[in-house]
Symmetry: D2
Subunit: 149 residues, 4 copies
């Protein structure tokens, strides 16, 4: 991946404040590049449905956090970026394994960023869910104008 404008350490520090749901669920960021990111939901009892599958809201939350990482990887640590729209298609029953989310940008504009996230049960190439999401970017924080020296 090309260089991110935020490090994993910076993202984790932001997450504690800005993504309490990610903290609660135990999401882990694995890679952030410029326009792509990968996060993981480790297997854990709290997110499971009986029978072993991961709850839908946990999948949507993981996708949302992954898109946040994608966006911050392009514009830097802008705290005020917020999700405005999220569409999730649930495709397959997740297996009892970590869920890995691969996000990538579709469009970074001055005011909106749109991306997609594919979610997989680790070890299975077929996605368990697919998400598209839109983030609103506060004025002056888009990737083409410098957000900081």
């Amino acid at each position: 991946m090309p260089d991110s404008k935020i490090t994993i350490e910076e993202f984790n520090a932001l997450s504690i404040e800005k993504l309490p749901f990610a903290e609660l669920m135990g999401f882990q960021v694995e890679d952030i590049g410029y326009g792509a990111a990968r996060m993981r939901l480790p297997v854990g009892a709290r997110h499971l449905r009986p029978g072993g599958t991961v709850a839908g809201p946990a999948l949507m939350g993981l996708a949302d956090a992954t898109m946040y990482a994608v966006v911050l990887g392009m514009i830097g640590p802008v705290e005020l970026a917020v999700t405005t729209n999220l569409t999730c298609n649930f495709l397959r029953r997740p297996s009892v394994a970590d869920v890995v989310a691969e996000g990538r940008i579709l469009k970074l504009g001055k005011r909106l960023a749109v991306g997609e996230v594919s979610l997989y049960s680790e070890g299975d190439p077929e996605p368990v869910a697919h998400v598209t999401a839109t983030y609103s970017i506060p004025p002056g924080a888009d990737g083409r104008e410098a957000v900081a020296p």
Copy 2:
């Protein structure tokens, strides 16, 4: 509301097994009718973002659970109904108050149920989020063929 095919007590019993996320988050069902339901997310630190707003995944999870109540209110306690698609528009920053979700059916078919859920911060008439969701209904469990007794 017209009569539901599931009582609140039956729904709560099912939730413990089928909606562990709802349990974790503390969602409360308030009313289930035939084609409509209302649920509540009580204010609580776990679902909050810093600054006091409710996390997006908690809102989506509340809407998903509400649609589950809407669907079961029409087809009875069918455990295998699953969400196939959920679209959320985040409209306003929730205030520090309970979130109330009002769900209603748009279409109950033999195989799919589609509905919408409007979410409000209690006491504010403007919605904080709007969700449309589709549930897949297992064969033989639609509202027009008897699923019971």
Copy 3:
């Protein structure tokens, strides 16, 4: 409906330029208020599928045009408002009748407007489709800052 910031005549004049698809399809605006609008797709061979139903893209186009009317009813004749997201749930097979679209605002912000549109075959109270759509509003054109005189 409360007063619109655009008249039906002004909207029709704009449509010829800005909504060529609406012109092609023969959409007719029936009412525009502040935060709500109604449009109609008259029965016509071009929009029909064999068997008499209206084609999906014609329904989505009608919903999109209706949301445009809803937005312009709130911000006045701002030509540059553009759709950024549209989600359509197809609910029932339309009958051989006019399609009527009822749109209403969910949220008018400074930069985004979100609304929903329910589409009906005339004379049938059950919706044939449901749409949520987001419009991006150019800077300086939102409803709270004066866009005129």
Copy 4:
């Protein structure tokens, strides 16, 4: 691409009946494989907005037709497959060029098929729109049970 269960000629023959909107708009199928398809919207005055861009409903219609080709490529010429949900993110203003739609399957189930379509102005690698769509498949027509000898 792997082998399709429908030829381009068979698809075109079906389109005349089943996709009158595609006929009206002049969509052309270019390739159908097992799980992927490519269609084209040739530049033409009818689909353009003033200023030269393609109308949103034409893009959504092209994506819908492309998904239909993707699905029929996997299950064969099943006329009764219908769209149940379509979500479109409009990303960039299309240029005055053909629009090319690349569709691929995300999940083929017994009852539902979900896919995504990326739309490009020819010659530009950045997508102008991104669509996810769900088709409902009539009983007995899924890809795993033989639909034909």
